[in-house]
Amino acid sequence: MSTMAVPDVAVAPVDEGFWTRNRKVGLVLLALGLLAAVLFGALATDQQARFTLSDDAAGAALEINGTIGAILFGIIAIAAGAALVAGVPKRWFVTVLGVGLVGFVLSFLCWQVSAAPTGQNFMPLVNIIRGTFILALPLIFGALAGVLCERSGVVNVAIEGQLLMGAFSGALFGSLSGNVWVGLVAAAIGGAFISLLLAVFAIRYLVDQVVIGIVLNLLAVGVTGFLYERLMQTDATKYNSAPRFGNWNIPLLEDIPVLGPALFRGNIFLYLGLLLVLVIHIGLFRTRWGLRTRSVGEHPTAADTLGVKVLRVRYRNVLLAGVVAGIGGASYTLALYSFTKNMIGGKGFIALAALIFGRWNPTGALLAALFFGFADQLATYLGAINSVIPSQFLAMLPYLATILAVAGLVGRVRAPAADGKPYIKG
């Protein structure tokens, strides 16, 4: 090598000035904290806000005076916001932001719980956590299906259809056979069937992936709706009375306070969903399969020149995505409800939002799904205590959060570079 100076060609970054993105976020948090301390503090009553560690009003509880709590937690949010504005090291940013947001939510809850009708000034934490996970479950499966698909470079808008087809075939074949496991396998195959169509049209025939995804969603609604009316409605006992997975209590873990009863007395789908997050995360970042999947999603030509079979990797991942989403659909019909027309009702699209909000990472997707699940559960709870906050307002949260995420307000969101681009050799 020569000693000749060959400086890199990068140019000096622009000086952002005092108002960096982190500081702006801090300012917003500060404003939210002020709102919480002043408004929630004023609206909260002197009732004790009880957060019970059980399913109902009974048992031990964390208690705080409503007004004091609303103001106190508001002040925590203000402090976190002020810290961000003053400037904290980059690695502390997420933690401080998290503390601030939790403070804001708790302040809000103190107000709501203390202002609830007399006798209902409690929030059962076990119930809320369990509900959050149950509502998040289809989102977790759906978002994982998205991760599998999109990391290999195929946009998966068909999550809704995959979930629906999984739910339907799980119900149908579970009923016909009377065996939950047969239902589960059928659900996986049902999801994979929609995936197969997606794969063939997107990979083989190069159809626009978003368009084919939407079409497949409509197809799934149509096919299952038609069969539902023709079969299930005419003879529900034969075609729509699938056996259900019961709850499995996990020894030892179920005795953990609050978390035990909330999480470790669940059904197979809950455990499977959480396990899949872990498996897919490790798979993507630690294994050969993951390296190849990511390379195909980022730069398929480069992968091809190294002997990676681009199309084969994509087919395999899209099919796997269908299997995962299909099982997610069965988490409805093989555990909770019998099949009804269009029963997924847009959850597939929220799963897509969770995928983006979670930055195409399995763990990120899990956290996003839980956040959306919590918003959903909170809406139910607030409805039950006759809150002044309309439940539609909370139902809006997932989409609002996604818009903010995509707009880049929570850090740079970067999709796999080749996501949605068909690979044509040569």
Binding site: M1, S2, T3, M4, A5, V6, P7, D8, V9, A10, V11, A12, P13, V14, R286, T287, R288, W289, L291, R292, R294, S295, E298, H299, T301, A302, A303, D304, T305, L306, G307, V308, A417, K425, G426
Partner: protein, 510 residues
């Protein structure tokens, strides 16, 4: 190919060099014929067969995943795994292997660096290491010097010599005659998909060029002396950001006079693109002024700038210069389709468009089946001629050409260059931006060298190449004379043993 040989494959753009090598690397399938390795015919179904046969390739556009680390890129496709069917990556072993190879061939790379943070020269090094870890005997380098500074090119040639010394064979694809003469043991010239001759490195530049093009071409641009007039374009204190909001142009002052060619030289990505786009109104000006013949034009829309008498050949013709699906005739009036005689009110006048298209196809020697053919079906050179024809068909005060001959065959280069000079001679101010130093030197009356968003020096066209090369690498004029003296000895002193031996050996041959 012999073992331990550097074989240059020379040909103009579109001659079929890259296609041939892609067949050799298994990316394309041959329609006929066969490939022999060690006397045995070889059937390549894909790149993995080629790798297994000991053939590696460094592509013109690097085949690296930008968000992966160096190690991840190198292990992809040949992963070392543990844990049976689960296939956990053995990163430690891969990292060790990278370190070993880069040590052995003196190709320093940081195994944990992320590709997109690395400069182009280093990325190329990663590509070479990637091929070497796969134990190749034959390395194909496809236009490796297109994106390098002269100094980086020199380093690459040193690396190639040390690989040759280690017994590797190298196919070196290029259209740059100087490099071929500097390093090749044998030269094969390809034209229109056929081998037209082999030559030794002793052959003269003109002989090689004649073989390449099939007739004698002038390598230098024929031009008289310029008669510069009044300043036409004046840029002062210009500051512009790139797409990522990173400062790309950082206080540029420039003047282009009527009747002269100002060449802008520099390695790609030093702000040339943003400079021109800011002048054209395609990119916001953050500070500073741009004036055309005394009128401030910064803040104007692009349309207004064009109408004020500015012609513009964008650097990426397929993205910014042409609408590929449109016909040649339509592309020829993209700038003035709404003006008489081509448009009136809401309607276009197809007859007028067709007539003028016919004329200009004739004038500018555009080789197309018809004026109605989609412009995307034309060869690169002819596409470029369509753009030049369009832009030069208006009365101009200023003509800006960015990479006017990139990916264009030699015949078209000659034509485009003569057109640019003709435009200068009728009194237009001309600005040529090119990463081909020879092109800038050939055309320009004055050369401005850009480095990291600034004009690091303005020199005359008679300045030695090496001096401009140093400027391109950011070594400012004061230091140039010292560094130019120190460079050769400094380079040799740090070379590894085999590398410097090979280096001096090949210089003797040449």
């Amino acid at each position: 190919m012999e073992p331990g040989e550097i074989h240059a494959l020379l040909g103009e753009n579109g001659a079929g060099k890259s296609t041939l090598m892609n067949v050799l690397y298994g990316l394309y399938q041959p329609d006929e014929g066969e490939i022999l390795v060690d006397g045995k015919p070889l059937k390549l179904k894909g790149p993995s067969d080629a790798i297994a046969a000991g053939i590696g390739m460094v592509h013109q556009h690097f085949m690296l995943v930008p968000v992966f680390t160096v190690t991840e890129n190198i292990m992809l496709g040949a992963e070392q795994v543990r844990g049976g069917i689960a296939g956990f990556l053995d990163r430690r072993r891969a990292r060790r292997e990278v370190a070993e190879v880069s040590e052995r061939y003196n190709l320093r790379v940081d195994p944990d660096a992320v590709i997109e943070d690395l400069p182009v020269g280093i990325q190329q090094r990663v590509e070479i290491v990637k091929a070497l870890t796969r134990d190749v005997d034959l390395l194909i380098l496809d236009e490796p010097t297109a994106v390098l500074t002269p100094q980086e090119t020199e380093e690459l040639l040193t690396v190639m010599r040390s690989l040759r010394a280690a017994g590797k064979s190298i196919v070196f694809i290029t259209h740059k005659l100087g490099e071929v003469k500097a390093i090749a043991d044998r030269i094969t010239v390809i034209r229109r998909g056929k081998t037209v001759g082999t030559a030794s490195p002793e052959a003269s530049r003109d002989e090689l060029a004649a073989l390449m093009v099939g007739r004698n071409v002038r390598l230098t641009v024929d031009k008289g002396t310029a008669t510069p007039g009044e300043p036409m374009l004046e840029v002062a204190g210009l500051v512009v950001d790139d797409d990522r909001q990173v400062r790309a142009v950082d206080g540029v002052d420039l003047t282009v006079r009527a009747g002269e060619v100002l060449g802008v030289a520099g390695v790609q990505g030093n702000g040339q693109t943003e400079l021109i786009e800011a002048i054209m109104g395609l990119r916001p000006v953050l500070a500073g002024t741009v004036s055309l013949g005394g009128d401030r034009i910064d803040g104007w829309t692009t349309k207004k700038v064009l109408r004020a008498g500015v012609g513009y050949v964008p650097e990426d013709r397929s993205v910014d210069g042409l609408v590929k699906e449109f016909s040649v005739a339509e592309n020829l009036v993209l700038d003035i389709y709404d003006r008489p005689p081509f448009g009136a009110g809401l309607a276009l006048k197809p007859d007028a468009i067709a007539t003028s298209a016919k004329e200009r196809i004739e004038q500018f020697d555009v080789r197309t089946s018809s004026a109605d053919a989609a412009v995307g079906t034309l060869s690169g050179g002819n596409q470029q001629k369509v753009i030049v024809a369009r832009e030069l068909s208006r009365p101009l005060k200023l003509f800006i050409a960015a990479q006017p001959t990139r990916g264009v065959d030699v015949g078209s280069i000659e034509f485009i260059h003569s057109r640019i000079i003709r435009e200068r001679d009728i009194g237009t101010a001309v600005m040529v931006v090119s990463s081909e130093l020879d092109e800038v030197i050939g055309l320009a009356d004055r050369i401005a060298v850009m480095y990291r968003g600034r004009i690091i020096g303005i020199v005359g066209p008679d300045t030695p190449r090496e001096e401009i090369g140093l400027l391109m690498a950011g070594i400012s004029p004061d230091a140039v004379s010292e560094r130019a003296d120190a460079a050769p000895t400094g380079g040799a002193a740090t070379d590894g043993g085999p590398a410097s031996d090979a280096g001096s050996a090949s210089e003797d041959e040449a």
